[in-house]
Symmetry: C2
Subunit: 218 residues, 2 copies
DNA sequence: GTCTATATGGTGATAGAC
DNA sequence: GTCTATCACCATATAGAC
């Protein structure tokens, strides 16, 4: 990975050698547009314009706008799962593993904020937008994957309470609060073009630290 | 306040005796629709339908859909400011006041989640949606009010660091993390029709406690 | 595989009757 | 103050040329 990352953070691989790069290119641009203006306010024409083509190309790869949205959402979830996987495999007491997971998640939210912004929009895109049975099925799978992701954190919180490295607290509410604290960054964080990986890691640390240690001194 | 609150949480006063109740009725329904489907996906026709009237009525009170959105947003911010005001006036060390502010904010986010969901949408509704100069001016004021609100928390965090009741931490990032932790509830919280005020207060406590004390035992 | 042209439907907003 | 009727526009999606 290069030391300096641009505003189009970690796009899916677009190198023309790889098969599927055309689709990846569309997904990346759709993610950017959906983040900037929101799914419903973004027209397929706009995505095409910014790709320097017409919507004919997009409709060659995607049957509908919502199917394109689904691919962006799927990609966003994939990045989230991949990010916390190494942390979940580390050995250590319950809190240490949870800390590692939170750090990995914070970094992923910053690095992929374009995609994760779109994932958050998925919460209020529902049955009304998915017309075919296939689309409703896909939507259900994406919702399931979001729940599964939160489940990993709930399980780890429960484990850490069990091994007494965590205070006793409401597992479900705490998971939502912790994830929300990091995920809210979709609203305020935008990558500076010249931002280094080290700077981003430092920001993630500043985000996670108050959650682990709390606010109270002593 | 009644002990049991319905799903239409604390609507603005609609009693037909008060002047402006027609507008308030429209604002409340718009907030509900915008929350459920999002601003852009909601049609003026839909708001009117659910009010049992036609959009002729709405356009009698509002020049455009975005102006209606602005009123919902304004109302949402008003509720937030009013909620933390008493907490800000309490006496006590820096952390005690901050704790009171966070509890008040958490309760307000739950109580008014319909309106606060719309406020969050305001982040990505921008110049493109505001066409007239008047609308751009209004938008600027709403953005300013969001910043001012966050500023209250930043100031209090700084004060608490100064009086040494808080660890030394990044004021700006910590403010965003704390507020985000509570505000993310717009995505997962929906009022149960039979939910009591006491239950909601208990939920707010479960949200704020891990932030104050941190996760680490000891 | 990509383009142009177009069908089709919905949405914001207005005019004018009542 | 509210309704009906309608206009103008824009967006999704398709058909067929190249």
């Amino acid at each position: 990975m290069p030391d300096v990352v641009g505003p189009r953070n970690t796009p899916t691989d677009q190198s023309p050698r790889k098969k599927g790069w055309r689709k990846a290119e569309i997904i990346d641009m759709a993610a950017l547009c959906f983040m900037e203006r929101g799914y419903h306010a973004t027209s397929v024409d706009e995505v095409a314009d910014r790709l320097g083509c017409t919507k004919g190309r997009i409709y060659h790869y995607y049957a509908s706008k919502i199917d394109l949205f689904f691919d962006v959402h799927r990609e966003g979830m994939k990045k989230l799962f991949e990010a916390i996987e190494p942390a979940m495999k580390t050995t250590g007491d319950g809190l240490t593993v949870l800390h590692a997971m939170l750090m990995a998640h914070a970094k992923a939210m910053l690095e992929h904020h374009t995609f994760e912004n779109v994932v958050a929009q998925g919460v209020q895109i529902h049955r009304f937008d998915a017309t075919t049975e296939d689309q409703r099925q896909t939507m259900k799978l994406l919702i399931d994957s979001r729940d599964r992701f939160e489940g990993f954190f709930k399980d780890q919180i429960a484990a850490a309470i069990a091994d007494k490295t965590l205070r006793d607290m409401d597992v479900s509410v705490t998971a939502k609060v912790l994830l929300g604290a990091l995920q809210w960054s979709i609203f305020w964080y935008r990558a500076r073009p010249d931002e280094t990986v080290a700077e981003r890691e430092e920001l993630a640390r500043k985000m996670v630290e108050p959650l682990i240690d709390g606010l109270r001194r002593n």
